[in-house]
Structure formats: structure tokens, C-alpha cells
């Protein structure tokens, strides 16, 4: 390793040290969004790294949403909805479960670390769980480091 490279690496590690991951979360209106609300009104502390997009149902989450987020440079993505059996529209989350379980594995196949994508259930009463889920995702994305893009050059 040349001196120049060494210095660059030092600078990079230093930059990484202050680096905060940028996350996006797709939350279902009826459970997870309300769960996030509860976490807030209960004054629970959790990392502020996530931007929330409210969707009518986790069934609304097209895998393209997740792809787009990664393509545009988000470091991690969360999809959360009502627990199976509790969907406001009876079965939306059952369909999304099939789709996203497959998609999750496929992302890994395409070289996107599984640490960057989280798919979980958070009910309206689970403010505590919401805080934990966001905390876990932030931690695992930090471990994976800054996302270098869907295609590494």
C-alpha cells in the first residue's frame, strides 16, 4: 500500500466514523405507522436515521419501491406492516409476505447485503417494538457500511 493510499484510507475511515446511514421505511397506515406514532408519543428514543413513507397497506409495497430506494442511494430499507391475520384489508400482508420474502432472498443473490433490508411486523400497540426494529436496522446498516450503489464500479 502506498503512502497516498494509506492516507486515503485513513481519511475514509475517519469519514465513516462520523457517517450516519440514510434509511427509508415504508409503514402501513393502520399498524406500523400508528406504532411509530406511539413510539413518538411515548417518548421512546430511537435512531433518527429513517425517513418514513406512509402506505395504505404493506400490500401496497411494490418491490420496485425498495429497488428505487437502493438505486437512489439509500443505505437501508424497512418495510413494516400489520401482523399476519391482522391486516386492515384482511389479506394484504399475506400477499406482501410472499412477494417480499422472495425479493429479500433475491436481493441477496444480486449482491445487496441482507443487513440492508428489513421486513417486519409492527402493530399499532408495539411502539417499543418499532423503536427496536429501527434501532436494529440502523445498527446492522452501520455494520455493513455506506452503500456503494446497486452496481459496484
Amino acid at each position: 500500500m502506498t503512502e497516498q493510499e494509506e492516507r486515503t484510507e485513513q481519511v475514509e475511515t475517519k469519514e465513516n466514523a462520523g457517517w450516519e446511514p440514510k434509511l427509508i421505511g415504508f409503514l402501513c397506515n393502520w399498524c406500523s405507522y400508528a406504532g411509530a406514532d406511539l413510539a413518538g408519543s411515548s417518548r421512546l428514543k430511537y435512531p433518527p436515521n429513517m425517513r418514513v413513507v406512509r402506505v395504505p397497506c404493506s400490500g401496497r409495497v411494490n418491490p420496485q419501491f425498495v429497488m428505487k430506494a437502493f438505486e437512489r442511494g439509500f443505505d437501508g430499507v424497512l418495510v413494516a406492516g400489520c401482523h399476519p391475520g391482522d391486516c386492515h384489508y384482511s389479506k394484504g400482508n399475506y400477499y406482501t409476505r410472499r412477494r417480499l420474502m422472495l425479493f429479500k432472498e433475491f436481493l441477496e443473490f444480486m449482491g445487496i447485503e441482507p443487513e440492508r433490508f428489513k421486513f417486519d411486523w409492527v402493530s399499532a400497540a408495539e411502539g417499543q417494538k418499532f423503536a427496536e426494529v429501527v434501532g436494529e436496522l440502523t445498527e446492522s446498516v452501520k455494520r455493513a457500511g455506506p452503500f456503494e450503489g446497486v452496481c459496484k464500479r
Binding site: 418491490p63 420496485q64 428505487k68 409476505r97 433475491f106 417486519d120
Partner: protein, 316 residues
């Protein structure tokens, strides 16, 4: 009677009895190394049908349009019969509108096998017991099976089709010559970073000609998401990232209906190994939901149904 003659006889019967309006099959191409899809409408034209190692196109791609003007018969190889099963299950065609002529061939020619030949000098390509015979002005050369056939044919077991009205060829189950998923296993040894670098290289080649989509019987949408001008999800530029987005979406859309016919990869002018993704998808669908595209008429389409005990991201 050769398979070709048998096929012509059956096509004549179907057309003269009025059971079908058209038989979709293969005809001679402009040069003997190619055959081309043809639509046979009269019993006399049935003599134009050919069956040889160059018959590679997946003809089931024409079905959703073709059935609109009456019942159709289609020549389909084992992997392609599965496409018909999926089209029927997904209500794109009616079972009674299509007569399936299932043809089990020894294998289909891999274009790369002809690399050493003067292509304009090739007079005929035919099956031999141990491979493919290429006839040129210098005489016959036999290419052994391993080199002559496409990868998908080397791993084919010619399993009994879920639907078939007419069966032609040798349908005895055969031992595959190659492991179908060997390349997937090899690829999966790469690290996450190497995988992304691999696809960056592949997708930067893509020119977005959409040949993969056009050749795919699973891609039957009237308007593809990339062609939509209202909601533009996929950018039309050909940067590696946009191409990644296009191919990823296409793979998700064909998940559970990709039967591994390999036409996308064959149609690709840039040599992108698209079937690698398709194969992984079929492995995942099998692993997670226990179904295989096109294997039975009973299974519901993968994303058109659910089970309450499906794999869960956080099992209780």
C-alpha cells in the same frame, strides 16, 4: 417415420379436420443454420414444417395474440409446455383453444458450437445418435452432445408434460448430462461486493433492446412498465443502474412463471447471462413456496395466492 414427418401428418390432420385454424411451428430459415417460426394455415402448407436441432425459438410467446383469431396448435418442447401451463393458469389463454404438440427432441443446437464452421457453407444440420451432424461441402462433421446442445438441453430430463394433446419424439425419462444449477452455485461463491461488480459489468453491456422481454412467454403485459409514460418507474437510459432496475423488475414479474426456457439469454445480443437470475428465482420459489412453474395445472400462480403458514420474516 421421422419426427418431422410425424409432425407434418399431425398438423395436416388438425388443419383439415378444422380443429385448429393455425399451427405454429418451425420452418426453414433463410440459411440452413437457422429455422424460423411459421404460421401454417392450410394442410398443404404443413409440408413447410421442419424439426431439426436449429428449432430454438419458444413459440408459446405467440399464443396470447394467436388465440384471438381461433383455436391454435403449437409445437412445444418440454420446457415450453410449462410456459403453456402457466399461460393457462394465469388466464391468458383458454386450455380448449390450444392444442399442444409436445415434442421431445434430443436437444437444441447451441449457436457457439458452429463457431468453427463456414456458416454459409453449412448445408444441413441434423440429429445423430451421439450429437449433431453438420453437413458442409466437405462432408459430415458430428459435434458431440456436450458441445452441440444448449445448456438447458443438457440438464433436461424430458419429464412428462403436465398437458399434451399430441406427443412426438422420445418421452422416456432421461438422465441429465449436466447439473442445471451448477452455474448458480458457482456464482454464489462470490462475495456481496463481487456479485455487484459482476452485475455492474453485465448490466453496463445492456442496450435495452428488450429482446429478452419480447422473447419471453411470461412477459405478456399489454404495456410493459418500462414503456409507460404516466408513471415512469424505470428510466429509459442505459446506465448500469437503470438497467439493473429494469432487469430486477422483470425478474420479479416473471418469478414463478419463468420455466427456464433460456430464450431471454439466447435472444440477448450482448450476451448477458439472464438465465442465471431466472434459475435462482425458480430455486427460491421452490424453496419458499414448494411449487415449480409449469409442473402442474393445480398449483395457483405464486403471487396470486397465499398460505397462512407461508415463510415469515419473524416467525412467532
Amino acid at each position: 417415420m421421422s419426427m418431422e414427418q410425424e409432425l407434418r401428418e399431425k398438423a395436416k390432420e388438425l388443419l383439415s379436420s378444422g380443429k385448429v385454424k393455425v399451427v405454429i411451428g418451425y420452418g426453414e430459415g433463410s440459411i440452413p443454420i437457422k429455422s424460423t417460426p411459421i404460421f401454417v394455415k392450410t394442410p398443404e402448407q404443413a409440408d413447410c414444417l421442419v424439426l431439426n436441432p436449429t428449432c430454438t425459438n419458444n413459440l408459446t410467446v405467440y399464443l396470447p395474440q394467436a388465440v384471438k383469431s381461433g383455436p391454435v396448435a403449437v409445437v412445444a418442447k418440454p420446457c415450453e409446455v410449462k410456459n403453456i401451463v402457466e399461460l393457462v393458469k394465469e388466464n391468458q389463454i383458454k386450455r380448449e383453444d390450444v392444442t399442444v404438440i409436445a415434442v421431445s427432441t434430443p436437444g437444441i443446437l447451441n449457436d457457439a458450437a458452429l463457431a468453427e464452421f463456414d456458416l454459409l457453407d453449412v448445408k444441413k444440420i441434423s440429429w445423430k445418435a451421439d450429437g449433431v451432424a453438420v453437413t458442409t461441402s466437405q462432408g459430415d462433421t458430428v459435434i458431440p452432445r456436450d458441445a452441440a446442445f444448449q445448456k438447458k438441453c443438457l440438464s433436461c430430463t424430458a419429464a412428462q408434460p403436465a398437458i399434451a394433446d399430441i406427443k412426438i419424439g422420445d418421452w422416456a425419462e432421461r438422465a441429465p448430462l449436466q447439473d442445471k444449477f451448477a452455474d448458480v452455485e458457482e456464482y454464489e461463491k462470490l462475495s456481496a461486493e463481487e456479485k455487484r461488480a459482476f452485475w455492474a459489468g453485465q448490466f453496463s453491456k445492456c442496450i435495452r433492446c428488450y429482446a429478452c422481454r419480447q422473447a419471453c412467454p411470461g412477459c405478456y403485459c399489454n404495456e410493459c412498465f418500462v414503456d409507460k409514460n404516466g408513471q415512469i418507474w424505470a428510466s429509459k437510459d442505459t446506465g448500469a443502474e437503470s438497467n439493473w432496475f429494469f432487469h430486477m423488475t422483470r425478474m420479479m414479474h416473471t418469478a414463478g412463471r419463468c420455466t427456464g426456457c433460456g430464450e431471454c439469454e439466447r435472444a440477448c445480443p450482448m450476451g448477458i447471462p439472464l438465465s442465471l437470475m431466472g434459475k435462482k428465482m425458480s430455486l427460491l420459489v421452490k424453496e419458499l413456496f414448494g411449487t415449480q412453474p409449469g409442473e402442474s395445472m393445480e398449483d395457483a400462480p405464486v403471487f396470486g395466492c397465499y398460505q397462512t403458514n407461508d415463510p415469515d420474516p419473524c416467525p412467532e
